[in-house]
């Protein structure tokens, strides 16, 4: 007790935590206002807004899984090399010989779970009518986040560079070559010719843009790696910030303002 007291009264402790322990009502309010990690929350909240049977906690779980994916993903990046020479062997080694190879399992199952929790979160928001005014725009942000979640999972699917990976991405990205006007097998692409020369070929269409090549190969691996580790996570982080900020500004998670 005395040691705890001494620590909490020390200059170091006080310099880190800008408030006393949240043991009484006043300090429970203050802690929410003065702590960086807690200030995302309001000070007080409707009892309904935190009832598990109402919220299912699915938005929170999705965000937590995003953090899990970030941490495990960064650790995996120290090990995994996105080249044709090494990609498969590195994953194989993670499975068979590397200490903490379980990070890959955590990362993969976390990713599947994140897709599912995103859907469930959206389902709850729909069922409670929480997309209604004033939260229309936040719903739109949420739909974009859903799309980015699927793209994160899709780009990550290629990285183990096994049969499962390249054929799933081949099947998925083959859709892009049927894009109307912009895919070389898409409807209307025949109309985009200049002086009898096709503008849309298998080396200039939407699929080529996605893969960086005519088929899933080394360029695709590099492209998906950068999208998976840098580009999409940055976009998600920005939109998450907006998503959470709007929850606060729009008056909590649901109900009319």
């Amino acid at each position: 007790m005395a040691i705890g007291e001494t620590i909490r009264n020390s200059q170091i402790w006080k310099s880190i935590f800008r408030h006393p322990m949240p043991l009484d009502r006043r300090n429970r309010i203050v802690v929410m206002l003065t702590n960086f990690f807690l200030h995302l929350h309001p000070v007080s909240i409707k009892k309904q807004g935190i009832a598990l049977s109402f919220t299912w906690c699915m938005g929170g779980v999705t965000f937590f899984l995003f953090l899990v994916e970030t941490v495990t993903g960064v650790l995996l990046m120290f090990y995994y090399r996105p080249t044709l020479e090494w990609a498969y062997n590195d994953i194989l080694a993670l499975r068979d010989v590397t200490s903490l190879g379980i990070l890959r399992e955590l990362h993969r199952w976390g990713a599947h779970a994140m897709v599912i929790t995103t859907w469930l979160h959206m389902y709850r928001v729909f069922l409670t009518g929480s997309y209604k005014p004033p939260r229309e725009f936040n719903w739109v942000v949420g739909v974009i986040l859903l799309l980015l979640t699927l793209l994160l999972s899709f780009t990550g699917y290629l990285l183990p560079w096994d049969q499962l990976a390249i054929w799933a991405i081949t099947v998925g990205s083959n859709m892009a070559r049927a894009t109307p006007f912009l895919g070389y097998e898409g409807p209307g692409q025949q109309l985009l010719t200049v002086g009898g020369i096709d503008m849309i070929t298998d080396a200039s269409d939407a699929r080529f843009g996605l893969l960086g090549a005519r088929f899933v190969g080394e360029e695709t691996l590099n492209r998906f790696y950068v999208l998976h580790c840098i580009a999409i996570p940055l976009a998600v982080a920005l939109l998450l910030a907006i998503h959470f900020w709007r929850v606060r500004k729009d008056g909590g998670i649901s109900g009319p303002l």
Binding site: M32, L38, K47, Q48, A51, L52, W109, L127, D162, A176
Partner: protein
């Protein structure tokens, strides 16, 4: 097909643990009902179920083909023979309709608990089948099994609250959510819930990661195409749509429309009721539209594409061996063929090889006139027609632009079930077929 002696020994340990877990689950339920709720009768029922589950567990642990609880081969054969895309889809729709119409009955905790037990036992009995287990236990398919149970649970949870609220609204009482609108402090009430959730999710994920290894197949080879080649599981609903539409529509346009439609939803739903609480009665149209899109056009298609589509994307029953040699007779016909050849008994309109571009284009349009007129009427005539009949009230409240977007999104969404039904009943392949510009619909 395959001798399953070794298989049963492999799966016995899992099934023993599985049935034991169901037994423990029922035991806990019985204990809660007895001590907390005083419902001794129900407590006895679930205790009896728990005992039965323990018996099943010990039978399963034997690992011998005469003892492990399984569906009889005749039943499995019957299910395989009966099942097909038509019965699967229509059956799912019928099941969801029954659940919806009689929701007041199905949300009762004891009914829901009985259904959960039935689902789990059916799953356990099916797992004793080698073909079923080999598909369901593929590491990447395990999340979908989880998804099915999670969706069932959360739909039950939401519907239960909606039923209570709808009854209260009918009696003029405030909703449960409105009754609970006093404020509480975020510290400790919310932050501790969040902490517990984080610990629970971390623990769950760790257990999952320890017991199920992430899949890693042979090294990638661009010359060895696996059969079937499947997209990641969350896109298999879209891949299943390829049975009915060309990639430009199933793989590009429809997904874009889904995203656009979801984004447009809050701006189209003018109903001010049902904001911030569970309710079905107050927003039936929005509710049914969303559920139809989510459950019928998304989830059931994913399950179909994952568990029931095998080599060559042929349909396989849940207990059927995925043989690549299964032959399915496909004799699908385009609408122009049906109209010009079968109905009018004339050849398809065809321009002479030397004709000018204009004549060629005109002939193509003539050939495709039946389909173009049908699609034109569907997308251009139906919305105004609906605006003065079924959707009269909606049109008045929404205004022209919002109404037209809503009507067209609905109609485009319905193209999928309509095309499914046309395919099943008339073997219709394409309504419009213009290979000249790669436009098949």
């Amino acid at each position: 097909m395959h001798s399953n002696g070794f298989f049963l020994k492999d799966v016995a340990g899992f099934l023993g643990g599985y049935y034991s877990a169901i037994a423990i689950m029922n035991g806990i339920a019985a204990l809660i009902l007895w001590r907390k709720k005083g419902q001794v009768g129900w407590a006895l029922v679930w205790t009896a179920v728990a005992v039965v589950m323990m018996v099943l567990a010990s039978l399963a642990l034997s690992g011998s083909s005469s003892m492990v609880p399984a569906l009889p081969a005749s039943v499995r054969g019957l299910v395989n023979n009966l099942s097909g895309p038509v019965l699967y889809t229509l059956g799912t729709v019928a099941l969801l309709t029954v659940l919806f119409v009689f929701r007041k009955f199905f949300v009762r905790p004891m009914v829901a608990w009985a259904i959960l037990n039935a689902m789990l036992v059916l799953m356990g009995l099916s797992m004793a089948d080698e073909n079923f287990a080999s598909i369901v236990m593929k590491p990447d398919n395990v999340p979908i099994v989880g998804l099915v149970f999670l969706l069932a649970f959360f739909t039950w949870l939401a519907t239960k609250q909606a039923v209570v609220n709808d009854e209260r609204i009918a009696q003029g009482l405030p909703t449960v959510e409105k009754e609970n609108d006093e404020k509480v402090l975020v510290w400790p009430d919310l932050v501790y819930t969040e902490l517990i959730c984080m610990v629970a999710v971390s623990a769950f994920l760790l257990v999952w990661a320890i017991f199920l290894q992430a899949p890693l197949e042979e090294p990638a080879s661009s010359v060895k195409t696996p059969n079937p080649s499947k997209a990641p599981w969350y896109f298999l609903g879209l891949q299943e749509m390829l049975v009915y539409f060309d990639p430009w529509y199933a793989g590009v346009v429809l997904p874009s429309l889904v995203i656009f439609g979801l984004m447009a939803m809050p701006y189209l739903d003018f109903n001010k009721k049902g904001n911030g609480y569970y309710s079905i009665e107050e927003r039936k149209f929005a509710y049914l539209t969303y559920q139809f899109g989510f459950f019928v056009l998304w989830i059931t298609l994913i399950i179909l594409g994952t568990f029931l589509r095998g080599p060559n994307w042929n349909f396989f029953g849940p207990f059927e061996y995925w043989t690549p040699y299964k032959v399915e007779v496909l004799n699908n016909v385009d609408l122009p063929q049906m109209f010009w050849v079968n109905l009018l008994d004339r050849p398809l309109p065809k321009a002479s090889p030397g004709a000018s571009g204009l004549v060629q284009a005109g002939t193509i349009l003539l050939r495709e006139a039946p389909g173009l007129l049908l699609m034109g009427a569907y997308l251009l005539l139906l919305p105004p027609l609906l605006a003065v009949t079924v959707f009269r009230g909606y049109f008045a409240k929404m205004g022209l632009v919002r109404y037209m977007i809503m009507a067209n999104m609905m109609l485009l969404m319905l193209t999928l079930p309509i095309k499914m039904i046309l395919r099943w009943s008339f073997n219709l392949k394409y309504i419009i077929s213009m290979p000249e510009i790669s436009l098949n619909f």
